[in-house]
Symmetry: C2
Subunit: 198 residues, 2 copies
DNA sequence: TTATATTTTTACTATTAGTTTAAATAGTAG
DNA sequence: CTACTATTTAAACTAATAGTAAAAATATAA
């Protein structure tokens, strides 16, 4: 039974993670103090240790949260009945929209090997490999079904992931383009790399 | 007269920057101590302060160094007599090859606003705007000369820069592809986004 | 060789941050 | 109201580090 109390704690943890991600994204991992994380929630840093083991642990759970969300989305796309062109387009757009709406979380996910060791690092890298693999799967499917040109799936995947993850670096809430426009433009342009011309 | 002594100091500074970049790239800015930077050079941290004002200053000069190199390269490309297709190809390849050969330097250039303030931040951002501008120039030239499709130059530039800067994240000296193969593959695929098909 | 300038090391300071602990407060069931 | 539990706080502890300054070592030149 997920008791009332357990639910309450889970909710509080989520709150802490969201708030922490915002500070961590702005100041960087080592640049952020536990006090800052706590202050933003009107708590004291001691309280943080009631909910999380330590600073690493907070970052790790941020990773977990966003990796789960990302994997869910792409699995849905991969398992759909769409053709590879539509799948690749959906995968790109979904990733972009998620990375914009969860900008802070995505921003703190760089260089995991600088922040984690052992078990945690393994988990993170596995999840990423997994995610990348789904992209490869779509690209290969497109090639098999002759709707994509013959390309090196790994290279194309790296180009796509690099391009879409870079958006966090320049995205601005008040910029001239809506999120959808950005997602559309990226998808359209990136698809031109692989889709066969008649 | 750039005296003998001044040259010696300049050389030593370069040595420190290169070595520092390697440590900074591996451990991150806040994760690297002045002592570690010094130790790798078989020096003590006191000496570091003889050559550089402080830790920021070291990072800043790393930035300067690589930005100068990058700008030189792209200016050369932009001012050449090549057609826009060749220019874009050269710009992409040059950036990739430089970012691989100077991997550490490039890796420490992320999130400048987390590391610099005021004057230094301004310098860094200006140089980047400048660099980005050259890409836009090539893209616009290609559109004017009707060899590129009609695209949003900013979006295409962001896609390209994101893709090529991501290489540092996965590049491995001992990987299956040579640097040239990577550069070729990236250039070929990225150009497909813009080059008009007959 | 001696005097001077440059470079490096050593020792120190002050600060800061992550974590732990014990005490205080709030909440709840009987 | 009471006793117990859960949560939060504040203080204390530890370890680490950026930066400084003066002394020591080394190189240079007269």
């Amino acid at each position: 039974m997920a008791s009332f109390r357990e639910q309450k704690i889970a909710k509080k943890k989520q709150e802490i993670l969201r708030s922490a991600a915002a500070v961590l994204a702005e100041k960087g991992y080592h640049g952020t103090t536990m006090e800052e994380i706590a202050a933003q929630l009107l708590m004291t840093k001691g309280s943080m240790y009631y909910y999380f083991k330590n600073k690493d642990d907070i970052l790790y759970h941020c990773h977990q949260m966003i990796m789960e969300l990302s994997l869910e989305k792409i699995e849905e796309v991969v398992n759909s009945d769409d053709n590879p062109i539509e799948k690749l387009e959906s995968a790109i757009k979904a990733h972009i929209l998620l990375s914009i709406s969860e900008k802070s979380m995505f921003m703190i996910m760089d260089r995991p090997y600088q922040k984690f060791t052992d078990e945690q690092l393994k988990e993170v890298l596995d999840a990423r490999r997994n995610y990348a693999h789904y992209f490869d799967k779509i690209i290969k499917e497109g090639m098999e079904k002759q709707v994509f040109e013959n390309v090196d799936p790994k290279m194309v995947r790296m180009i796509i992931l690099g391009a879409i993850n870079y958006i966090q670096q320049w995205y601005n809430q008040n910029g001239p383009n809506t999120d959808e426009e950005i997602a559309d433009s990226y998808a359209t342009n990136l698809l031109k790399m692989v889709v066969k011309k008649k």
